[in-house]
């Protein structure tokens, strides 16, 4: 060494670690603002499920009675679930883009805990899902066809939001496993197919072979749960189905995240 540089003595223990793994309101606020600024995402989240409801919800038998309400209410709850699932999953796949841009790597050079990052992304996905649910329900009120008691209406909406977490987890999982923009190209058609199988769009005849299979697909259980306050009808198969798929997707997202953390 030819230069004379001062060797500062740094006491590393004097530095603090942030609480909660780096979780903080500023982070959540900026992430929320980012999401709301993305006009395409927001318009999609609001218009698409509403448009679906308006087309499916205007069947000729809309006024027939279902449990504590009518067919239109049944379709509205189903469409809110589909819309929320799709938007939450697409929000979850954002991690794929952030990985591709090197942002995940950048974050790993900060104190932010990887699990906290996932939780923040899940919260954002649920907020977007809530927006979709709110819009479908609002359109339902304005259209005037769905009929059910107010408490049933509110219970259905809240259960739908809770069930949306399954698909937020699915989106995150896909975001880690699939490269970049491919994640949504797989999830979009996949969720539509699962919704058909899960009795979300068109009722499947109970007892048919396809129904037997459908009972084990990811949309079936959550759809039954969301409509339970309205139908008053819930089988244990539906509950087990929902719990199982929630465990699979959350576990999958956690595994994919850990794998990603180890690799990069």
């Amino acid at each position: 060494m030819s230069t004379t540089t001062f060797r500062g003595s740094i006491d590393p223990t004097a530095r603090r670690v942030p609480p909660l793994g780096g979780f903080n309101p500023t982070l959540l606020g900026i992430e929320l603002r980012r999401m709301l600024r993305n006009r395409r995402t927001v318009v999609f989240a609001m218009l698409f499920p509403a448009a679906l409801f308006l087309s499916f919800g205007s069947t000729s038998d809309w006024d027939e009675s279902v449990g504590h309400g009518n067919v239109a209410a049944y379709v509205m709850v189903s469409m809110a679930l589909y819309g929320a699932a799709l938007t939450a999953a697409s929000a979850g796949t954002q991690v794929a883009l952030e990985r591709a841009m090197g942002w995940s790597r950048q974050l790993r050079l900060t104190p932010l805990n990887a699990a906290v990052y996932i939780v923040v992304k899940a919260i954002i996905a649920l907020v977007l899902g809530a927006l979709a649910i709110a819009v479908v329900n609002l359109v339902g009120v304005l259209q005037g066809k769905p009929e059910m008691p107010v408490d049933v209406w509110v219970e259905c909406a809240l259960l739908t939001l809770a069930c949306t977490s399954v698909f937020a987890a699915l989106g995150l999982c896909a975001g880690y496993l699939l490269p970049g923009e491919n994640a949504m190209q797989v999830l979009g058609p996949g969720l539509a197919l699962l919704s058909f199988l899960g009795n979300v769009f068109i009722p499947i005849d109970e007892g048919s072979w396809i129904y037997t299979i459908a009972q084990w697909t990811p949309m079936y259980g959550v759809a039954e749960i969301c409509r339970y306050p309205l139908t008053g009808d819930l089988t244990w198969i539906a509950v087990v189905n929902a719990a199982l798929w929630l465990a699979v997707f959350v576990g999958g997202a956690a595994w994919a995240m850990a794998r990603d953390t180890a690799r990069v």
Partner: protein, 315 residues
């Protein structure tokens, strides 16, 4: 809980000079395998606080892999990595380590200020956002979307983010690529001022010239090992050699090795290869005192020079 400002700003010079400083980086017997590929084959390295060190080597030498381990982005297959006496992840959680990469690492839909605020919010203690923006010279573009910033502006933003936590160790990847001469000079004088306050700088480069000009110390890595470690002058001397090749059956290797400047003699069948700093002397000797023919003089590649000098031929 209040922490005195002077301690939070760890790179300040308030520490008692009599206390022996913790090494900024300590790698002991570090290896890293990716399946059957041995990317790093055993590195021992200690960087002192306040040093500016160039990490020099060709692509694929193991520079990035080693830096990733210092940053805690990957774990060594064997050996230990410590940053300021801590495991890398713990050093990062305390804001002691930052890195500036060449590309990526930014969200295009955030503004410059949002990016800095976002990053600042993740640390326990940081310098004020406005001050960091000001120092990086990006206050004027603070409300601009990252996507609309030029490459140079994005690089300033990366530096602002890296300096937020006042890191004790700063890792830079090819830091001055794309900068003009003036920009380079300003950049390095700022880096040197920080080093004088105790910040350690480790920068990766594959240009010997840049390493020589700006680093106190150059660590040369090749095939996953450190093959040279010294000042710029020492390293340059190693790299300036040439190889003289001639056909000379039964060459007297000890006579060749005795010529001034010769650093190595190799016999391959009828051919003899002489590694030397003074190729003229060797050529004169071969042509006037021996029956050598087919004489060839080649400048040694940087890597080849190091490999022959350190006996690290990895054929």
């Amino acid at each position: 809980m209040t922490t005195p400002r002077a301690l939070v700003r760890g790179a300040s010079t308030t520490g008692a000079p009599s206390v022996p400083a913790v090494p900024a980086v300590r790698l002991a017997g570090v290896t890293k395998d990716f399946g059957p590929v041995h990317a790093v084959r055993g590195i021992d390295l200690e960087l002192q606080q306040g040093e500016i060190v160039a990490f020099l080597g060709p692509n694929g030498a193991g520079k990035t892999t080693t830096i990733d381990m210092v940053l805690g982005l990957s774990r060594p297959t064997s050996g230990t990595t410590q940053v300021l006496g801590l495991a890398p992840r713990h050093a990062i959680a305390r804001g002691l380590v930052s890195a500036v990469m060449q590309t990526g690492g930014l969200l295009k839909d955030l503004t410059v200020r949002e990016t800095v605020r976002y990053t600042a919010s993740l640390f326990a203690d940081t310098r004020p956002v406005d001050e960091v923006l000001e120092n990086a010279g990006i206050t004027a573009i603070a409300d601009r979307k990252v996507a609309k910033c030029s490459g140079g502006e994005q690089q300033r933003l990366r530096f602002a983010m890296a300096l937020l936590s006042d890191p004790a160790l700063l890792l830079l990847d090819e830091p001055t690529t794309g900068m003009d001469v003036e920009g380079r000079r300003t950049f390095w004088s700022a880096i040197r001022a920080d080093a004088e306050r105790g910040r350690t700088i480790l920068f990766a480069t594959h240009y010997l010239e840049e390493a020589d000009q700006y680093a106190d110390r150059i660590v040369l890595i090749s095939h996953g090992r450190i093959v040279a470690d010294g000042t710029g002058a020492q390293i340059k001397a190693l790299a300036s050699g040439r190889t003289v090749r001639a056909t000379l059956p039964g060459a007297d290797t000890s006579a060749l090795a005795a010529i001034d400047g010769v650093t190595g003699v190799e016999v391959r069948g009828d051919a003899v290869l002489v590694h030397t700093k003074d190729s003229d002397a060797v050529a004169r000797h071969l042509l006037t005192r021996t029956s050598a023919r087919d004489l060839e003089i080649t400048a040694q590649g940087l890597e080849q020079a190091f490999l022959s000098l350190t006996g690290e031929d990895d054929a």
